[in-house]
Amino acid sequence: MEHASQQLWLIPLLPLLGFLINGLFGRRFPNLLVGLIAVGTVFGSFLWVVKSLQALGALEHAHVEHYYTWLESGNLNIGVDLMIDRLTAVMLLVVTGIGTLIHIYATGYMSHEGGFYRFFAYLNLFMFFMLTLVLGANYLMVFVGWEGVGLCSYLLIGFYTLKKSAGDAAKKAFIVNRIGDFGFTLAMFLMFVHFGSFDFKTVFDKVAPMAVEQTAGPLTWIALLLFVGAAGKSAQIPLYVWLPDAMEGPTPVSALIHAATMVTAGVYMVARSSVIFLRAPEAMDVVAVVGLATAVMAATIGLAQNDIKKVFAYSTVSQLGYMFLACGVGAFSAGIYHVVTHAFFKALLFLGAGSVIHALEGEQDMRHMGGLMSKIPITFAVLACAWVAIAGVPPFAGFYSKDEILLAAHHHHPWMYWVGVATAAMTAFYVSRAMFMTFFGKYRGHHHPHESPFVMWGPLAVLAVLSLAGGWYFKIPHFLEPLFPLAEGAHDETLVYISVAAGAAGIGLAWLFYVASPALPDSIANSLGGLYKLVYNKYFVDEAYNAAIVNPLVNGSRSLLWRVMDAGVIDGAVNGVGSLSRSIGGFVRLFQSGNIRSYAAWVTLGCVAVLVALGMAGGR
């Protein structure tokens, strides 16, 4: 530790303070004060991040701060340790920076909602846990943040407590995440069994000299289980089902938690564990394939959704798949690069969508929108920036990171590149479709759209600039080079042109379908019939899970375990012992007649019997 303590604990603690103040007293505060506290604490931790990073300089080595021992038992010792290295620095800036913007936006978006203070308390609590996750210097600290963000996600998805669908979605998110966490915890336990520690440094120092595992061994298992955790948090197959439902939460939540920060925690964790993953090639392949499959599948579902937030939700799932593809092919820095650019443009997309929804007083169905370009021009302008960024149009943010990923994929396996390009085309298509359906053509709704206030479009403007220039300005892979050596391989210009062309094709096709000849989509949907239905209903995955897992579990527990096992077998056995004793007692009772003479008769008989027995035995 060359540098003096930077009091890193202040970074997560400031939002926690905001949570405590707003949570305990916010009900009596005016909205303005609540908003100020919430935004102020998050902005404060952003400033502290900047200050600490300046003080730490180039960050050639990780800077670790130990505060106190959290848990000690035998040879297990876990400290409350925070750490900054270059990877953390990137994540910290994204989380606090975008967090601040979204907090500001939310003060406008939520101004008419009940439970204003509650919302910001949860949001601040989320920031606390997210920053703990990013700053944690051992797996258990990460896990603390990991579970904590899951909790906040649960609370915020279910924020509209009166809506049953919101409650269901929240519960689903929490439980699916729990399944992922099951993997994460098992990975940690294995890690302790094999390396005797949870500290990043200790574990990685022990793993580094190990050979690459040719067949599945402990490292592969640890990596796979870590990936199960990541798949839960970052919504990968087969645990992605919670994220689209999570859109029940208020839109700023979708932007902050379910697009920009929390869902990328899985990518962060895999990148953080790159030392382990690099020595487990089989696990890497699993990560890449799952990531790619998720990217394709979610993109196809996104093609057919009509709810504007659902489109972006599936888009998020798809983009997260991209990030895992990057990690799986060994291009961790490209994955983190995409985390950053995606945070810019996806937060913008969601917030812009929120602005549209706000303008239409809660309308989310794109079939009831259209022609909004002239009615809410600022929103359109900023959304257009996100549009070009996600579609991979050079030289905007998405282009750079997607390019890095696709090239790395091509280097690994060319077919992965081609699937990725197809996904990119689909991505461009569905985002363009959403844009065209929302802003072009004629207005099909019956509300009176109005532009959002400055507190809402101000942050949007900042994000718009970042979406446009962020990719070109922040050279993340270069910055992360000390941690993740850049993948070798020639920079093939042709591959770049192909992927850009695919994006352009997607946009063009969407223009053809939804602006030039609006009747076309319906006829195609009709001609595809079954396939369209399959995609429109999200491949019936939810229904399959319900039928295969949830219902058997619930019904089996009720009828078999509770009614039969507990009430029947165990209590039956216990009551059986009871009634047996009773019947024995009933028989014995016959001797206790209460008639002294009968007792005396028994005594006499007994004496006689004893005498006879003695006599038979021969006297002595």
Partner: protein, 103 residues
């Protein structure tokens, strides 16, 4: 010490008396008879105690028989009092009619 009568005779007499007592206790219905049967059994035991005491030339048996006699006297006092009260209240001495404690 000349022993005109062998101990076994005493014991046989004691057994006969005891058997009579048991039979009386079991089969007679009059409380006073039952009571006397009990006394008979006690005295049968006394007889055998004294007989053994005589045979072994020890005083233990005598002492025990005195105890038994004292207890029997106390018992007779209490028992007869109870019987009198029962007869006053019920005007009967048949043992099967005085079973109200049962059930």
């Amino acid at each position: 010490m000349p022993s005109a009568v062998p101990v076994s005779w005493y014991l046989i007499l004691s057994a006969i008396l005891f058997g009579l007592g048991v039979a009386g206790f079991l089969f007679r219905r009059n409380i006073i008879t039952v009571f006397m049967s009990i006394e008979l059994m006690l005295n049968a035991v006394n007889l055998s105690l004294v007989a053994f005491s005589y045979q072994h030339n020890q005083t233990d048996g005598h002492i025990f028989s005195f105890f038994v006699m004292v207890v029997a006297a106390a018992e007779a006092a209490v028992g007869l009092a109870i019987i009198l009260t029962v007869f006053k209240n019920r005007s009967t001495l048949a043992i099967d009619d005085v079973s109200s404690l049962k059930n």
